[in-house]
């Protein structure tokens, strides 16, 4: 038993190392005294200083955060509903509608949404980007929630209904807590997808809307300076802080016990 535990820990540690070595480079290089993200030259805090004076970059980071929060919230709600529906009721159309946005090349989806918004005379801006993000995030949440439900013990829900709970109460107090890890996992994925999306955002953003990926990708042909490393490091810390605060505010909701 102990030997297996050690082997598991070692394999998992290798996984974490694989995840974190590039990240450590990202953070360390935010202090790199060189314009290029290529080799370590020396230590400096200049880039953080530049970042705090860079209105464009800060505004872009703010926009990304807002869009990601809205998109992940809405897509988690809709995706959970879709996941439950797909599992419990054998719908035909929903699985296809849910999976296809994941499969379809982003550039096609971006162009088609732009054409669609223009046809509707819908002003492009933050809202159009958020709506687009929700569309492709729903699928990720739905699939995770459905996987979580697979093999779920329906007898618990039935028992609750037998005890007089309405379908909503059965869902809220029995099913939801049981699938919560799946919902959280889906929400995390949706947030990640939204905050880093470039292609779809490029096409659906309005004439003054800049998100962080748009800002950063436009630097790709000149130089992606350590300012980008700095803003990424700060964004990670900020998001981590937000999540910690949120979990303190709602401990009962996020725990699965």
């Amino acid at each position: 038993m102990r030997r297996r535990r050690v082997a598991l820990c070692a394999a998992a540690a290798a996984g974490y190392a694989f995840l974190y070595v590039p990240l450590i480079i990202v953070v360390v290089y935010s202090f790199n005294n060189s314009r290029l993200n290529a080799e370590w030259v020396g230590f400096t805090l200049d880039w953080y200083d530049k970042l705090f004076h860079n209105q464009e970059m800060l505004a872009a980071a703010g926009n990304s955060l807002i869009i990601a929060l809205v998109a992940s919230l809405v897509s988690t709600v809709l995706g959970t509903m879709a996941g439950v529906a797909m599992y419990r009721y054998k719908t035909r159309l929903l699985p296809i509608l849910v999976l296809t946005p994941i499969a379809i090349p982003e550039i096609l989806m971006g162009v088609s949404l732009l054409i669609f918004f223009v046809l509707l005379n819908f002003t492009l801006g933050l809202a159009s980007v958020a709506l687009a993000h929700i569309a492709f995030c729903i699928g990720f949440v739905a699939i995770v929630v459905r996987a979580r439900l697979a093999g779920m013990d329906e007898s618990l829900t039935e028992a609750a209904r037998d005890c007089g709970a309405t379908p909503w109460e059965a869902f809220r107090y029995v099913t939801l807590p049981l699938i919560m890890p799946g919902v959280i996992a889906g929400a995390l994925m949706a947030f990640t997808l939204s905050i880093d999306d470039f292609v779809i955002t490029f096409f659906t953003a309005g004439a003054g809307t800049v998100t962080l990926p748009l800002q950063i990708y436009s630097m790709i042909k000149i130089a992606v300076t350590p300012e980008v490393n700095a803003v990424s490091t700060l964004l990670m810390l900020l998001t981590l802080a937000l999540i910690v605060i949120a979990s303190r505010l709602t401990p009962s909701l996020l725990r699965s016990d």
Partner: protein, 303 residues
Amino acid sequence: MTSRSSERFGKWLVSAPPLAYLLFFFAIPTLIMVLASFRTPGEFGGLSPLIEDGKLDFNLDSYVRFFTESVYAQIFVKSVWYALLTTLFCLLLAYPLAALIARSPKKYRDLLLLLVILPFWSNFLIRVYAWMIILGPNAAMARVVNGVLAWFGHEPVPLLFSSFAVLVCLVYVHLPFMVLPLYANLEKHDQALLDAAQDLGANGWQRFWRITFPLSLPGVYAGAALVFIPALGIFAIPDILGGPEDSLIGNVIKQQFLETRDWPFGSVLSIVLTVAALVLAGLAAWVGRSQLGTRSSGALGRA
């Protein structure tokens, strides 16, 4: 309200909002582009007018092109191969991670999970750049590998701008999408089952292969779908650190919409890609369902 009609009401309540959203913000826009695959490209970009000189713009040129110029199918097959490899390596790396998190004491679980996804809130581009630093010819990794190769008399092999770099980065970028679904599934496995099996004489490997793995199959398939399908269409990674031979179907599709300004052909390639991805996912799910039925039913009871 009878239980039957409340059942149906419940079904509509739960499936209608996501259905409506996706129909409006996804199905309709996509339909526009699917129809575009039957049209001709506009001479100066975009699409030709729908009705020109009284004739409807409808043809199968782009489809014919895909089926006659075989280079596109060739690149497509290569992309499937890359996506499969990515999925496999993601699974191998993600499983221990997800298992460890699922088995950890409750107070550490959320933190460990967050630690998995935290790196992915930094920007994609600088993560790839970080890999360029790690795999660069003067960095430690390349020196070690080429040192070993030199010892065997082999000429130095570039780590950067190669298929190896593309694969490593593909696995890296998709890893959390395998970890999270696996975790969501593994988290609900009952330790008591494994303890009972151990009491009955099963060793570690048997406990894993006969109990844990079959029970985790829905998570495995979910993770595989969430890795394989997006990996099939990726283009940024080969663009930035791929070698001259590492062009994938995602790159070709991007070129149709940008350089070549051939939206109809881009649509055709996209449709082929999407249909292939959905078919493969459907096949995997069907295989998974039949396997799940034979492996984990009955004796395991409370699954």
